[in-house]
């Protein structure tokens, strides 16, 4: 999908010849480089206004992990025309709900309103892009809030640190080796000047996509968008050059300790390609095959039949630049962590040497079909997908076509991909142990 710089007078409209259940949309650019995607659906009187910025934890200074997420919090502190503390009240008193989230790759902000408040949503998002209030008071307040969030979700949470441990071992050069939530010391060290510089560099219309989806009058909304976002000045284009990882050629072992648990866990992690690549889709199907549902391979064998584990699973954690594929298990009783790895390896070996059965293949296809239908079942979900496919995949049509990729994957391909990526000499085995086990 080529991006094009168009003036007001010429707009690009998607030409669709597909069935009524497809998500229809139009997209264009403002003259300041901001990309806009509109989706009209008048069946329910709701509208989502959202902005995704192409900045995440991987863009941070390595001495300032947690910065992008911290900044996301600051953008709720107020703008030139929205007093501090008023953001949430404005949303709820107008019948809406809102949220935001940050990952390693991007930051996303959205509001959901009854559709007669679309202008309010556009005003709010344009306010925080144009002139947010970023001051020391906000920094001090949100520093405490973000640290408290880290305590709640990670430090005091059973198994909360496992992703951090995996990332730091899987990535040696690429910024994915850090975490989105960051380190306490880095959060404390962040300065106001640094936040202002970050704002200036990354929070610019030419690094953002605006999505308006739901019960809208397209012509009226386009005028509002130009009014609120048009005058926002373009910023300097961002150049990105992330270091590449060397391939993993030898097995790695690591240990981590967690004071919040009594039952240990073992994780086997493999480095996989970005979610944009076809192989990543195949790995996603493999993950479903291995661990989704009570009749999935790992669950049925290890938890149900052999009763060796409390829980087993596979997580396909894929991102913009790389992916991490994680198999995990929590042993039951006297079963050792290595025993669990042996059981899980047995299933991988089968995948690598035999084709999965026709019935299992059909089962996976049915599950992906269901997921695909559900993902487009809410305006909020559609808005998120539109933004994500544009910004991170470079192809908005995936919102309708992604299912075709899954449909085209064959049993042979599944076997091939398992052989390419899921090898014992290419992985990390992490023992995630209770603190009380430390000698």
């Amino acid at each position: 999908m080529k991006k094009c710089l168009c003036s007001l007078a010429t707009l690009l409209i998607m030409n669709l010849t597909i069935s009524a259940q497809e998500v229809k949309f139009e997209e264009y650019d403002l003259s300041n480089g901001m990309h806009v995607i509109l989706h009209q659906d008048n069946t329910a009187p709701v509208v989502t206004t959202s902005v995704m910025y192409h900045v995440g934890a991987k863009d941070e200074n390595p001495e300032r992990t947690g910065f992008a997420h911290f900044f996301e919090h600051l953008l709720f502190e107020g703008t030139k025309n929205i007093p501090k503390g008023e953001w949430f009240t404005i949303v709820t008193s107008n019948g809406g709900s809102n949220n935001a989230n940050t990952t390693d790759d991007r930051t996303y902000y959205y509001e959901v309103f009854p559709s007669n408040n679309v202008e309010l949503g556009l005003w709010m998002e344009s306010e925080r892009l144009l002139h947010p209030v970023i001051n020391q008071d906000g920094v001090d307040t949100q520093n405490e809030v973000v640290k408290e969030e880290k305590r709640l979700r990670v430090d005091n949470s059973p198994y909360g640190k496992f992703l951090e441990m995996i990332k730091v071992n899987m990535f040696k050069k690429h910024p994915y080796k850090g975490t989105t939530i960051g380190k306490m010391a880095h959060l404390d060290a962040a300065t106001l000047e640094e936040f202002q510089a970050f704002n200036k560099k990354f929070y610019i219309p030419n690094n953002a996509v605006l999505v308006v989806a739901g019960d809208i009058d397209v012509a009226a909304v386009k005028v509002m968008i130009e009014d609120y976002f048009g005058p926002i000045p373009r910023g300097e284009d961002i150049v990105r050059n992330f270091p590449k990882e060397d391939p993993i050629t030898e097995p790695m072992r690591a240990k981590a300790y967690d004071p919040n648990i009594q039952i240990p866990a073992v994780m086997a992690a493999y480095r996989t390609p970005s979610f944009k690549e076809r192989d990543s889709y195949v790995l996603s199907m493999i993950s479903t095959y291995l661990s989704d549902g009570k009749t999935s391979k790992l669950y049925k064998k290890i938890v149900d039949d052999k009763k060796m584990a409390l829980q087993v699973g596979a997580i396909d954690f894929s991102q913009e630049d790389y992916g991490t594929y994680i198999l995990y298990g929590l042993p039951l009783g006297d079963v050792s962590l290595d025993d669990l790895v042996v059981e899980m390896d047995e299933e991988i070996a089968k995948l690598q040497s035999e084709l999965i059965s026709e019935r299992d293949y059909q089962k996976i296809q049915n599950k992906f079909e269901n997921n695909f239908v559900s993902s487009n079942s809410s305006i909020e979900g559609i808005a998120n997908s539109l933004a994500r496919y544009y910004m991170l995949y470079g192809d908005v049509n995936l919102i309708n076509n992604e299912i075709d990729i899954y449909r085209s994957i064959t049993r042979e391909e599944i076997k091939m991909v398992a052989n390419k990526y899921l090898n014992a000499n290419q992985r990390l085995v992490l023992e995630y142990l209770p603190e009380s086990d430390k000698e």
Binding site: Q21, T43, T92, F113
Partner: protein
């Protein structure tokens, strides 16, 4: 060239247009309220009474089937748990499909199927929906109910009850309902290990036969269907569902509300927070004209972050992470509740503040912007929920089951917006109360009851099964290594050590006496000599000696107003037991019981049971004796006398309490020593 000119002109016009018509410093106002269109389901009824409602929605290729049973409340009684067990066993196969095959097929289709006692649902892609309807019908009409599954679920349910035994919130939930409605009311009864043990597979099957019938049952179908074909298919699969004879249920009346506010306290010594829930029964149906006003009123009192209760208990005082209220709606009976989980130390304050907010809410009309914000929230939630097909299904079921007017949902927003400040004030005094209510508090008695008593609200005590009990003994776990013997030893060490203690042969105490309610200020002189001789003489200025008690080692008497009475057999026997001036030196620890670690006025004390009716309390930190307690029969009544000791000061290397307070029934006597002398000023003659 032309293109460039065109673009230049376009840009020129654009730059003109940039003197925008918007003023960004003004928050945009909402546009006209969006039109709500609610599809009305098409309705059909089968010969066996099953009612089918269909709403077509072709936005996505999926279908949702929902079964809802419209029943009167079910009272399980001694077999409480039978409906839970039945519910857990359903959707695990049918009489013609094994459990594994059933689950495997649903997983294969990527579908979901759930059935409980109240109804069931099935969701899938359009292409598999015919099969799912068939499976749902089969699983609802012919479930596989085996002894093996039954035993498994029974064990799980009992395990669950056991593990909930220490959960403050679980206990608060079950006891709250039982206290509000009554233990023998369908809404108040709860499962216990006993009641679940009593359930058999035959009971489960009998309940299934009785309650899973097409009478008063709805099948709601939403999604990518063709109405005519799907109804035809439903007829095919459900036509053999046999209609049952009409059921008559005995109506059980719920408890009435208390006449005045009372606290119902349930002690859980492991609680780190108190679960506070003020509850009062109300009658409110969705079809009542007050319904919308009550929703708005509750939102303001305790229905969200900015509510009266939350802003007070959380934002102003920091007592809790969240305080909330609710008013239930039900065809038969429901209740108003307000509460929060709070830190132990602030339990009493949280109770007081909760009452205060309810009363403020009743007495003062609400502010206009609180009313507007509450309405906006309801309007927003209503509108946003319309996106989900499950909402439409729920509305269809609600309209039928709750006998709502046909336009209930179509006029919902209008009615919400029409609620006035006067309406809120009126319903605040009808459905909300801090008078005819009970405040159920589940918490750690040893830390909270003392302060709760100070609120002046009468307290009734209950156990975790909502049975009334006497006020419990509040105690803490006794630390490792602490025994009756170590407590006696600690005392001796604390007051000066065995050597110094044994060196005391006699003690003379001169004290000022206060008798509560009496204007006199007597003085007393008390003498003791080892092993057990004692003398007490009380005098009042201007009146001389008014009371004497003497014991010389073998005989004794009491004298008051000139009348002498010799010591009784029992009294002499008691005296004979005394082997020294300090009981801790001769008491046999093996005959004593360490009853508990409890508290007196917030200070931790160990309670020792000496013999039948007598107790000694030692400060857990200092080791000193702070109280003795004795129950005695006097004139046909049991009187407990309590002696509190304090102000320990050293005399001759031994600590003595200089202040005593004796409480015997209604009498309170205080003794403040002005002088204590050891081994001097006492002779054997003093005891005659």
């Amino acid at each position: 060239m032309k293109t460039k000119l065109y673009i230049l002109i376009a840009v020129f016009f654009m730059s003109l247009g940039v003197n925008a018509q918007i003023d960004r410093s003004q928050q945009p106002k909402p546009g006209p309220a969006p039109k709500i269109s609610l599809e009305k389901p098409q309705e059909f009824e089968l010969k066996n009474g099953l009612k089918i409602l269909v709403v077509e929605n072709h936005k996505l290729p999926r279908v949702s089937f929902n079964i809802a049973f419209d029943r009167e409340p079910v009272l399980e009684g001694e077999k409480a748990g039978v409906t839970a067990l039945l519910g857990a066993m359903l959707a695990n196969g049918t009489t013609t499909i094994s459990k594994d095959d059933f689950n495997e097929e649903i997983d294969f289709l990527g579908a979901r199927l759930n059935i409980g006692f109240g109804g069931g649902s099935a969701n899938s892609l359009t292409k598999y929906s015919n099969r799912m309807l068939e499976l749902l019908a089969d699983a609802t009409m012919n479930p596989l109910l085996t002894e093996e599954e039954f035993q498994k679920e029974k064990e799980k349910l009992i395990e669950g009850i056991k593990s909930d035994a220490k959960s403050v919130d679980a206990i608060a939930g079950r006891a709250g309902g039982a206290l509000a409605y009554g233990k023998h009311h369908p809404y108040g009864e709860f499962v216990t290990e006993e009641s679940v043990e009593a359930v058999t597979l035959a009971d489960v099957k009998a309940y299934f036969e009785k309650y899973f019938t097409p009478n008063n049952t709805y099948l709601v179908i939403i999604g990518d269907v063709n109405t005519k074909s799907v109804v035809k298919l439903a007829k095919k699969h459900f036509k053999n569902w046999e209609k049952a004879a009409t059921m008559t249920t005995e109506i059980v009346e719920p408890n009435t509300n208390p006449e005045a506010l009372e606290i119902n306290f349930i002690d859980m010594p492991n609680a780190v927070q108190s679960n506070i829930s003020l509850t009062s029964n109300v009658k409110l149906k969705m079809s009542d004209p007050d319904y919308h006003a009550v929703l708005i009123a509750n939102k303001i009192l305790g229905g969200g972050f900015n509510s009266y209760l939350n802003m007070n208990l959380r934002e102003e005082h920091g007592y809790t992470y969240g305080a909330r209220s609710s008013v239930g709606t039900d065809k038969y009976i429901s209740r108003f509740r307000a509460g929060a989980a709070v830190r132990n130390a602030v339990t009493d304050s949280a109770v007081v503040e909760t009452i205060k907010e309810i009363k403020r809410f009743q007495n003062e009309p609400v502010e206009a912007d609180a009313l507007a914000n509450a309405k906006a929230k309801y309007v927003g939630d209503f509108v946003l929920a319309l996106e989900r097909p499950s909402t439409i299904a729920q509305y269809a079921i609600n309209t039928k089951v709750n006998e709502l007017p046909e336009d209930f949902y179509a006029t919902y927003l209008e009615k919400i917006n029409a609620v006035t400040i006067e309406d809120v004030n009126r319903v605040a005094n009808l459905y909300f109360t801090a008078d005819k209510a009970r405040i159920v508090v589940v918490g750690k008695g040893s830390e909270v009851v003392e302060n709760l008593e100070k609120t002046g609200i009468p307290i009734n005590y209950f156990d975790t099964f909502a049975n009334p009990v006497e006020k419990p003994e509040f105690s803490k776990p006794i630390p490792e290594g602490v025994t009756a013997a170590t407590i006696l030893e600690s005392y001796i060490v604390a007051i000066g050590g065995l050597e110094a203690v044994n060196a005391v042969n006699s003690v003379r105490t001169a004290a000022d006496v206060t008798i509560e309610g009496m204007p006199f200020k007597p003085t007393a002189v008390m003498k003791t000599m080892a092993p057990n001789m004692s003398s007490m003489e009380m005098s009042i200025e201007g009146m001389g000696t008014v009371m004497k008690q003497k014991f010389d080692g073998s005989e004794g008497y009491a004298e008051q107003q000139g009348m002498q009475r010799p010591m009784s057999e029992e009294e002499l026997a008691e005296k004979a037991k005394e082997k020294g001036l300090f009981p801790e030196t001769y008491l046999d620890a093996s005959t004593l019981t360490l009853v508990s670690l409890t508290a007196i006025d917030g200070v931790d004390v160990y309670k020792l049971n000496v013999d039948e009716d007598s107790y000694r309390y030692y400060d857990a930190a200092t080791g000193l004796l702070v109280r003795t307690e004795k129950s005695e029969e006097a004139q046909g009544q049991t009187i407990t006398s309590v002696q509190d000791l304090s102000d320990y000061r050293e005399v001759n290397g031994v600590l003595f309490p200089f202040v005593q307070k004796i409480t015997a029934g209604p009498q309170v006597i205080g003794l403040t020593a002005s002088e204590i002398i050891v081994n001097e000023g006492v002779s054997a003659e003093d005891f005659k």
